[in-house]
């Protein structure tokens, strides 16, 4: 059998998963739709109070149940970032942008999202960013209700 006779064909794996959210994730996505970022009160292994964003049913370090949900942000601080000059299919923006871990004001952990900064020169760890929301009527309860973050003061 010659290698050139080997049969090849495209194969597509495609499925529209629909995920149930449960109380904590459901509240977070409801919050996004309503233009708010929610975090969960928790505590680290030493008992120091923390606020986890985005909130999960469990503390990301200890696994214990989290406490009440509170509003955080909307502004926050970039803890680290990476510049994408060629966005891939499905990513939040179709023009060059920065991925960033953003710690909203009042939170002790950071969330991953895109920052629409125009150029890498506008990005730095420690910089302040604020959310850019989709128009209220276009929000459906997905991560992209918060379209992206933008540098504070950039409008």
């Amino acid at each position: 059998m010659a290698e050139s006779d080997v049969l090849r064909a495209p194969h597509v794996l495609e499925y529209p998963y629909l995920r149930s959210l449960g109380p904590v994730l459901g509240a977070f996505f409801t919050g996004l739709r309503d233009g708010r970022i929610l975090g969960a009160r928790s505590a680290d292994a030493d008992g120091t109070p923390t606020v986890v964003v985005p909130p999960t049913e469990y503390d990301p370090a200890t696994g214990r149940d989290v406490g009440e949900l509170i509003e955080v942000g909307p502004g926050g601080v970039v803890t680290t970032w990476a510049w994408v000059s060629e966005p891939l299919e499905g990513q939040p923006l179709d023009r060059p942008f920065a991925w960033a871990l953003v710690r909203p004001d009042g939170a002790t952990t950071a969330m991953l999202h895109a920052v629409d900064a125009g150029s890498p020169e506008a990005m730095a760890s420690g910089m302040r960013v604020v959310p850019r929301w989709r128009p209220a009527e276009a929000r459906t309860g997905t991560l992209l209700d918060l379209a992206c973050f933008v540098p504070e003061g950039a409008g």
Partner: protein, 162 residues
Amino acid sequence: MSEPVTTLPTPMRVEYAFTAGLAQSRYLQGIAEGKFIGQRCPKCHQVYVPPRGSCPTDGVATTDDVVLGNAGTVTTYCVVNVPFQGQSIEIPYICAQILLDGANIAFMGLIQEVPPDQVRMGMRVEAVWVDPSEWGPTMTSVKYFRPNGEPDAPYESFAKYL
């Protein structure tokens, strides 16, 4: 305030470049020529069809081609009476394990041209191919199997392939 959000749609799509591999390609090239080509294990001498490239019990490559005939025996079967996604045949129909003459393993095939309640274990069948002009390296080249009129094979002759 509108209703709380309780679900999240997350569509997923990934494209792959699929490779059939050497053994399956060899088999399907045979199908494109209207032939079932099995392979014999050099160690245990059993004939596999479709060949899997290796003998599943010995773990050695199978390289010795064996051209098999068009006739075989129904070793066992079921009557499919349930609709499901991707189904292309009208229910009810017979799905059978067919042991081609000269092979040492049965494979699953469709039985037509006989009412479901007349199919039997041991029934002799033959492959019905699409028109040669439509033969290609795909299992759709074989339309189905149908009774070939020979007397049933005795149970003992295929009991060890169940």
